[in-house]
Amino acid sequence: MKIKLFKSLLLAGAFLCFGYTQAQEVSGTISDANGPLPGASVLVKGTTNGTQTDFDGNYKIGNVGANATLVISYIGYKTQQVVVGGQSTISVTLEDDAQALDEIVVVGYGTQVRKEITSAITSVSVEDFNQGVINDATSLLQGKVAGLSIYNKGGNPNANPTIRLRGISTIGGNTEPLVVIDGVLGQSLSNVDPSDIENITVLKDGSAAAIYGTRGSSGVILVTTKSGKNGQPFSVSYNGQYSLSTKANEIETMNREQFLAIGGTDLGADTNWRDEVTRTALTTVHNVAAVGGTDDANYRVSVNFRDAEGVLVNSGFNQFNARTKLSGKMLNDKLKIDFNSALTQRDSEFGFEEALRYAVLYNPTAPILAADAPFVFNGPQFGNYFETLGLFDSFNPVSIAEQNQNFGTTTTVNYSIDFKYTFTNNFSANLNIGQQNVKIQNRQYYPTTSFFRGNALSPFRKGRADFYTQENRNQVLELYGNWSKTISDKLSLSATGGYSFQENDFNEYYLQLGDFPPGVDFNFSDNIEVSQDLLEAGRVAANSGRNDDDRIIAFFGKVNATFDNAIYFDASIRREGSSRFGSDNQWGLFPSVSVGVDANKYLELPNVNLLKARLGYGVTGATPGGVGLSQTNFNVLNGSDGFGPSATGLGTRKPNETLGWEEKQELNLGFEFAMDRFSATLDFYNRDIQDFIQEIPIDAATNDGFSSQFQNAGKINTKGIELAANYDVLKSETINYNTGIIFSTYRSKLTENVGGDRTIANLGAPGQNGTNVILVREGEQIGQIWGPVFSGNVDANGSPILVDVNGDGNLITDQGSALNEDVDFAVLGNGIPDFELGWTNQLTIGKWDINAFFRGAFGHSLVNNFRAFYEPRIGSQSSYNFVNTSLARDDIRTAQFSSYYVEKADFIRLDNLSVGYNFDINNNYIKNIRLSLAGQNLFTITNYTGADPEPSLQDFGAVDNGGARSLTPNVLAPGIDRRYNYFTATTFTLGLNVNF
């Protein structure tokens, strides 16, 4: 579609500059290194006279003057000009344009030629995506876009990575970027199979994202899926991947001998719990796609099958995805219709991350099975697994993983249809309608013999089943017009204006019940009517929620102007309203303006293709994370036994009728430089977020005991630098070597903290409740880890001796005094990296290609929770296991949080190494075959002693004794490596690609 559009614009431009001709016909073949190029453009310079090559790369053009010049162009190739000079046959071989300055880039509500872009935009296409088995679309980009942090701690195939663009951009609102798929906003990336993606463009700064208003604050990710081309012959391709994963790093614990030597309780066996709950995971991916096209229509249909296993036993998913993309023209090419639809059904086995957690702290001398218990043990009561009864927070990991079920199905269906009608050469209008339905049905089942959540220990009320269903419907309607005109040689203008409507309807329900008949091996989650909980008051937990008509409505407009093909100007404005605000504050205004200059056009430096400077300013916004924050609600207080009084009392929150938009203002200065073999982009930015929507402390006395309320309060300033550079070290017919580096760094400061200084991120039970390790203080950086400093010495009781930081002779290290002026706490590190690096290497030798990608983050620290809880040689810990990293000290015998458990987690990792070979077959059945072998997460260089040194950008809170973690992360608390984080995996993938 974008190619079409470009062509149309070109033709339109050509029409306007109607020129003079003489009669002559020229024909020929346009090809590239691999053969004929269908669809290349041939134009007589300075006229509207042009054509396209056919399927075989041939063209024929009449009315060519003898002294005319032909301009031959094709997206992704260097444009060539050939003087006709009386020739009647002109054949041209186009060269790849490595720098792709004329590449068309998808931007908000349209496309732009790369060199005309005036804001910070990075576009990554299929050939630059990460290799190997990639189960979610954003991981294709990990480490490829400067300023875009993508972290998926551990290797859980069912977990979505955390994505941050240029750091934290909002606290209460949506912290993840807005996703726009083939021009449709708000659809789910999980409904796009990574194999179907052609290009991902990231709008990084405010001036690029402002056209998306509210949801633009955290950045915008524009995904373009693969499509057919007009005139393309029917063809089928197959992509298959077969991979094996094993657990990579793990935190060191004691084995049987070490554990007994330190006085651990001997239960007679020798078990490596982590080996018992992990496995070599096999993943297969199949992708079959068919493409084709006629003169006025094209299509692409693909199906994807993914069967992924996690390294944790009984975890993984099975996914089917189908995508259809149709594009056609009618009414003399005036109406263009694009239709997209996709269906994904994913059957997940989530497994239990708790099995990994308890595998770290479970007694290494404990047997797996009850039959091997060192004393009389009622095995059948616990499903014939052994359990260490009487311990807080201790469950047999193998029993957790093998006895219980945690599974679900997510079905996502979406479609979108776009009508584009070209009224005149200057004006066209689009109507875009899209809808997406997502239905999630999750279940958990804990049999009557499960000690973990199944209550097997109790003489009654055993077994538990949980059911959760959620349905989300999202509808989008957008109507906008495009106008463009080349005013003169020096000036061309375009403008876009439109209306956008988006509505989300949500409903959910949850049910939990148990007390199933023991002694029977039967899955009672399929037969919950036998639950004894139904007979006893208050045992069944159930809740439901619904929220319809959650709307965002906007009017928007933008203009682009190009002067002298070297000075570019863009401006946009969006007026947007959201139903989540109080009626007086529903509407916000989000403008942007940016300008760019290709200085090289005037400087004409030798060997330089581009030297562009650009400056952009834009305002984006963010909506609150939930609905109803501006409205008063009332809680229902039920009487006892259903007979007593019932009434409403104070609601669940203190409403704020004046809640309004959160605003982010961003100024971005960028430089782009390109030579034949070298290119670089450098961006500096400064962003101020103000009025962020945040739950802030309020006076409980005046506010009926409510101690917090969502308010527009506070300011964050982020300054950052991003650099991307690329160099063709070797460039020849047979050998090519390209290397590229991206670098990004930023600092976020809390410039105004209305809620007051506080500490957050409680470490939790056992024994470390009230231990908040992150400091939130005005004027200081975000993500500071705060606590007492370990002196390196230990007293006779085994307590670490802490440092009198302020030297006042009075050691105050109680958490209750954390914010006192005289407290002996210090900043122990920061959870956010100082800088992040990505280093790509692409080597092509003949038919071989080799890719190596290194990724690193530096300067961040992590609070190693496993160590903080389980490394001290505490007496009562001798029934669990001890964490035993290289930092372990036998003389520390009390659990006291200090700097000792805060570790620098700088790392560099060989994230991806792949080798591929292309077989040219070119027989009647098969065109070519490609075989590749890729390794992911091959090695990591770090001093961090935990399982994974990747930054933890947000925190889901503490979990203990079988509880569940919070669903809403705290973005102000980076740097906490919790005890539920997954082990990382190393994966080897064999890939097969066949084009028929």
């Binding site: 109507l479 409205q631 005991g705 908040n772």
Partner: protein, 535 residues
């Protein structure tokens, strides 16, 4: 095809005009209007029943429940800071950043989370009451609501001294002196009792409050009991002693109220009786019956907080007190947390024959549901059997897992849930007797005047009467009776013993008799609160 275009543009236009700027937010899953319904009063069942408050006051009464018998709020603050119980750091468990060690050692600071929770809970309760008072209430309901609000302010004044007096939802008030708060509580109570002062000739006939024995509903006796406690501590709060009025108010309750001491003639079935354990008593009698899970009809109860496993959660003593393995003794729903330990000295203050010693504490070797030895495979002593020893070797860092007697006054039931059914007394007749005895003694400066009341209580405890008594002995007697009823801190302060040293605690400064205003409240925008002296 033209039709298709026209149709689609038409549809678009239709949508456009219909929903163009409609951003009304409808909350489908939340109630945005109020209602109240009195339901049907049912008196039946083992653990619930009695006359419940009217629907209009459900929220007001619920407000008192928060934190009064659970961990982390009022109960913990009032108890762990006293010499009744401590929460020892059990190796890797219960250190919690030192906040409970601070509370025990009186080194707490303004940022202590439990103080903030206590403050928020109290003002949340006040908010519920103000919401009720802003609606339509009968005169009797309004009078009840004012007593509840006065009680919440009383607690705040007792804990924090300089508080805000909030009498309308969402309306700010300045921070007052402790004396002004004292005066507010007194005037509210006198007003609802229809009198201007407590005197031996007072006439309560114009009071809108009732006089029936309905412990979930505030009546005249509940209001007078609160006045008794206010006057008994008046010297601490206001600088002026009011012992005579305390005596008169308590005497009025004892003489006119429909209450009697729960003596040996009163018993309830023991819901913790294990079928296979012969030594478990069939019934709980007398003192023990006052606090049993089925204590809702106890004749001693003047005003109690309704707790129920299903509909009125918040009492979690089984979780807070027991060793993990004790789950198997009672077949409890959930594994306990092994937190609160009774101080050895406090446990030893009971005479061996005191029936309250058995009623209040769990000590010694424990057995499981079937009566077999209860084992702790992770025991940190050589003996696998769970054995609660009164002696606690240390408070931190390795307070042994099985050390310390465990409070079982609010006793347990088989198959109990983490939320317990026992009602929690705010005022009961036994307390009134002790308050009256003390008031008489202090008013006349002669402790022997307390003997009739003290001996009535000793008699119920199976002890011989005392012939003479001192302030210290009286204090010990009150302590033994009122254990676990969140009275100890206030008593320690009134008797001038709060700053003394006891196990694992040194002397503390006088300013610590009042807690610091929670840091979060001082920080809150526009609160205007200032810190108490000394912090």
């Amino acid at each position: 095809m033209n039709r298709l275009i026209k149709l689609s543009f038409f549809c678009g236009t239709l949508l456009f005009t219909y929903a163009c700027t409609n951003l009304d937010e409808v909350l489908e899953d939340e109630l945005t209007t109020q209602f109240s319904d009195n339901g049907v009063t049912v008196i039946e069942g083992a653990t619930s029943g009695g006359v419940l408050p009217s629907g209009n006051l459900t929220g007001s009464y619920n407000g008192i429940r928060n934190g009064s018998a659970g961990h982390g709020s009022f109960f913990s603050v009032q108890t762990v800071s006293s010499d009744e119980m401590a929460i020892g750091q059990k190796g890797g468990d219960w250190f919690d950043g030192g906040i409970w060690l601070q509370m025990h050692r009186h080194t707490f600071d303004a940022a202590h989370p439990a103080l903030n929770d206590t403050w928020n809970n109290a003002y949340g309760g006040i908010g519920q009451t103000n919401l009720a008072l802003a609606g339509t209430l009968s005169p009797n309901e309004a009078a009840q609501a004012r007593v509840i609000r006065a009680f919440q302010h009383f607690r705040l004044m007792d804990l924090f001294g300089r508080i805000k007096i909030i009498t309308a939802s969402g309306v700010d008030a300045p921070q007052t002196s402790r004396l002004a708060a004292f005066n507010f509580v007194e005037s509210e109570l006198l007003a609802v009792l229809g009198i201007t002062a407590v005197s031996s000739t007072m006439d309560l006939s114009s009071s809108a409050l009732g006089t029936e024995a309905q412990p979930y509903v505030v009546n005249q006796y509940a209001a007078l009991s609160l006045l008794t406690k206010l006057y008994l501590n008046a010297e601490v709060y206001s600088g002026t002693a009011r012992f005579n009025e305390a005596d008169i108010a308590a005497t009025y309750v004892i003489d006119n109220g429909p209450y009697m001491l729960s003596t040996a003639s009163f018993s309830v079935p023991n819901l913790a009786k294990r079928p296979e354990v012969a030594t478990d008593p069939v019934n709980l009698t007398g003192y023990a019956a006052i606090f049993a899970p089925n204590n809702q009809f106890n004749p001693e109860m003047i005003w109690s907080i309704y707790y129920d496993a299903v509909s009125a959660g918040g009492m979690n003593f089984s979780q807070m007190n027991f060793h993990y393995s004790t789950q198997l003794t009672y077949a409890l729903d959930a594994q306990p947390w092994n937190g609160y330990q009774v101080l050895e000295e406090f446990y030893n203050s009971y005479e061996a024959t005191d029936i309250r010693k058995e009623a209040n504490f769990l000590v010694g070797a424990q057995t499981d549901f079937a009566g077999n030895a209860l084992l702790d495979f992770a025991a940190d002593d050589p003996n696998l059997v769970v054995d609660y020893t009164p002696a606690i070797s240390e408070l931190q860092p390795n307070s042994p897992r099985e050390s310390g007697a465990r409070a079982k006054k609010f006793s347990f039931q088989l198959f109990g849930r983490p939320e317990m059914n026992n009602d929690y007394p705010i005022f009961r007749l036994g307390d009134l007797h002790l308050m009256r005895g003390e008031a008489k003694a202090r008013a006349a400066g002669n402790w022997n005047l307390s003997l009739p009341d003290v001996n009535a209580i000793r008699n119920r405890a199976g002890l011989t009467p005392l012939g003479t008594i001192t302030a210290d002995i009286f204090f010990a007697e009150r302590g033994k009776e009122m254990f676990q009823e969140t009275s100890r801190r206030t008593d320690l302060i009134r008797f001038g013993k709060w700053g003394n040293s006891w196990w694992e605690k040194t002397n503390s400064d006088a300013y610590r008799t009042i807690f610091p205003i929670p840091f979060a409240q001082i920080q809150a925008v526009g609160s205007g609160l200032t810190q108490n002296p000394g912090y």
